[in-house]
Subunit: 436 residues, 2 copies
Amino acid sequence: MAQHNEAPIRVGLLGAGTVGSQTARLLVEQRDELSQRIGRDIELVGVACLDPDEVDFPWIDRSLLTSDTMAVATNADIVVELIGGLEPARTFVLAAIESGASVVTANKALLAKYGPEIYQAAEAKGVDIYFEAAVGGAIPIVRPLRESLVGDKVTSMLGIVNGTTNYILDEMTTKGLDFDVALKDAQAKGYAEADPTGDIEGHDAANKAAIMATLGFHANVGIDDVTVEGITKVTADDIAAATAEHKVVKLLAVVENGETGVSARVYPALIDENHPLASVHGSFNAVFVKAEAADDLMFYGRGAGGAPTASAVVGDVVTVARHIAQGCTGPAITLYNDLPKAPIEASKAAFAVRFVIHDKPGVLAAIAEEFAKRGVSINGVNQDLKPTLHEPGYSGELQQLRLVTHLTDEVTLRETVEAVCQLDFVTGEPSILRVL
Amino acid sequence: MAQHNEAPIRVGLLGAGTVGSQTARLLVEQRDELSQRIGRDIELVGVACLDPDEVDFPWIDRSLLTSDTMAVATNADIVVELIGGLEPARTFVLAAIESGASVVTANKALLAKYGPEIYQAAEAKGVDIYFEAAVGGAIPIVRPLRESLVGDKVTSMLGIVNGTTNYILDEMTTKGLDFDVALKDAQAKGYAEADPTGDIEGHDAANKAAIMATLGFHANVGIDDVTVEGITKVTADDIAAATAEHKVVKLLAVVENGETGVSARVYPALIDENHPLASVHGSFNAVFVKAEAADDLMFYGRGAGGAPTASAVVGDVVTVARHIAQGCTGPAITLYNDLPKAPIEASKAAFAVRFVIHDKPGVLAAIAEEFAKRGVSINGVNQDLKPTLHEPGYSGELQQLRLVTHLTDEVTLRETVEAVCQLDFVTGEPSILRVL
């Protein structure tokens, strides 16, 4: 086998896009230094792409380019999967493992859906599966969870793990833009894709939440276990109301290992402007980790981008290459904790609710009554003019009523809001945001 | 050898203080889970301490306690050194390595002084030397530098790596305390030691700076290469002046790999209140890393404390134990970059200088002249009443003149300040702080 002679360690690259091309650049331009750190020569032996004629980077020898992805996936010591998506990525990754190759991937969707299958295949075959770039781009968060904190007990993680939504919310906050305008602007600037669904609906963050929970709690948490709420319902009024209360709106991936079990959620939340996560701007990412012994940790950096992501990918390649050179492997992704999934009712949070109302006597009393009936106690109330909305056929003054609740479970809260919306003086769509 | 049979991996602990006792607790209480993650049983086989009769923790079997440190250091598969200081720690660590044991240590002073000797001894013997807890306590910073960023090129690091000084500066800022008062308060609260010299003079931060530079630049940077300035000269007036300009004073460890070579420095500096490092409060630590591909990264967490530090130590123990179980080792600490040490003249910075002066006509002109003569250009000037100081035998009004320079080299700056202090209307001690 390769690791018993001194032939170069052979790296096959699947995908030659933004990250793939930068990964190739680092592997080629820094080959000598990397080989020195590995203790053995490392060589890029193939780059699979859809159309070799379309790929043109000075550092990629054209003879390495091929559209035969399976050939590259099954003829290397290390296969770097940067295709993305579920299939055919899954097929190629499993084929690579079956051929005895170790795998480095940045594919969060693949791991959130088929992680256990892939982890077990790698362990059975005695090869490595590394994926630092799958969560938080360049931020070293996977390795610390996998190695640094193994002697500790992670209780919760809180992350801003999607740069697109963070950029959009930032623009809405600083420029007072509506969601649609901010989205178009982000697309124009290349921060959001033509089809932004995966980002703005929270699916990308949900994939990362599943991976964070799996690594942090050593339990099998998949994408289907994650409850997801995106930012499409966040309005300029929500942001304005947040700003008025010295808070910011962030899309958070929240994973917890509590008494009632494991939970993984993605939702937009109000956080205090003094919270460290509040100062994570633009396309930066950050992950907060709470562990029993280590207490609070935060990791911050570039969540996306060709070069930053490639830095994380190549870091994994070097680690895996060292293992091959030594004939060992890194820690397996262990799922030995068979933890129950916490029921949604068990999750208690404080909520900020905003209703648009016709201003007349008794309104607050009637609304408060609906909350009281269901045992949802109110922490604070705010009422002010609602200028940006006009209701056809209503000449009176429209006001917005903002309530912040004490800790309550989401199900009861939504029932309460439901009931309030039935009141005849309540109009428009209510807004519901968690308060951290 | 141990790794070829299934006997437990034997861990010897040198030191049973705050960190040692917590390390023992995690090793004993989580033995099953740790063994599961290691793939082999792990056992605490000895705890060396000065006086076994003085040590009493429910989780440490008394039969494991001994004052024969050398016996523990040379009869284990993994030796955890938590004695601290240079000697006898160095002797025990080298003896442990010589006996074929891998070493985990939190000893920053030892590594900053004898790192190369220890790294080379470990490499020659084919054993591991791990030290996550030596920089930033519980913060995973060593492992990311050692593994995650190996495919990248680290250009600079900026860290708040001493909790004691950060706590003192915080107290001075929030409560307007003088340094001496804040220090006494910190000692009373246990945040500063009876002899605080190592912290307040910046030596502890300097040790960490040397290790950061060694890991980040793969070059031999020792404690003697670090220029150090502590916080003892920082006054309440400096803090007040900083606050007036929306800045905070932080003690920073700064390592750079620039055109003129490698530099490692520790000094108090003014940073903008919006800089992420400005919100690192109390005894927390944070390290900023700038790398070519990854761009900006930040790591934040508990820089000290028994349990947090023990979390990092046990993380290392598990990693090393896995290597032993597999018969391999982690990446050696490579010092292959023979980088020149940047001359102090080469380091350019902006400086905030504060003079106490007798208020009379022509003062500013005369001072500005001294700066102009030496080509130090001034970016801004501020003059105001200096209430807290009274000069015996002078009835006139004392003012303080604050200048901020453009980028200039430190040597010229200090010569200029020297010259200004010769002017007859300048009195008291000048204050010089870098501006980030």
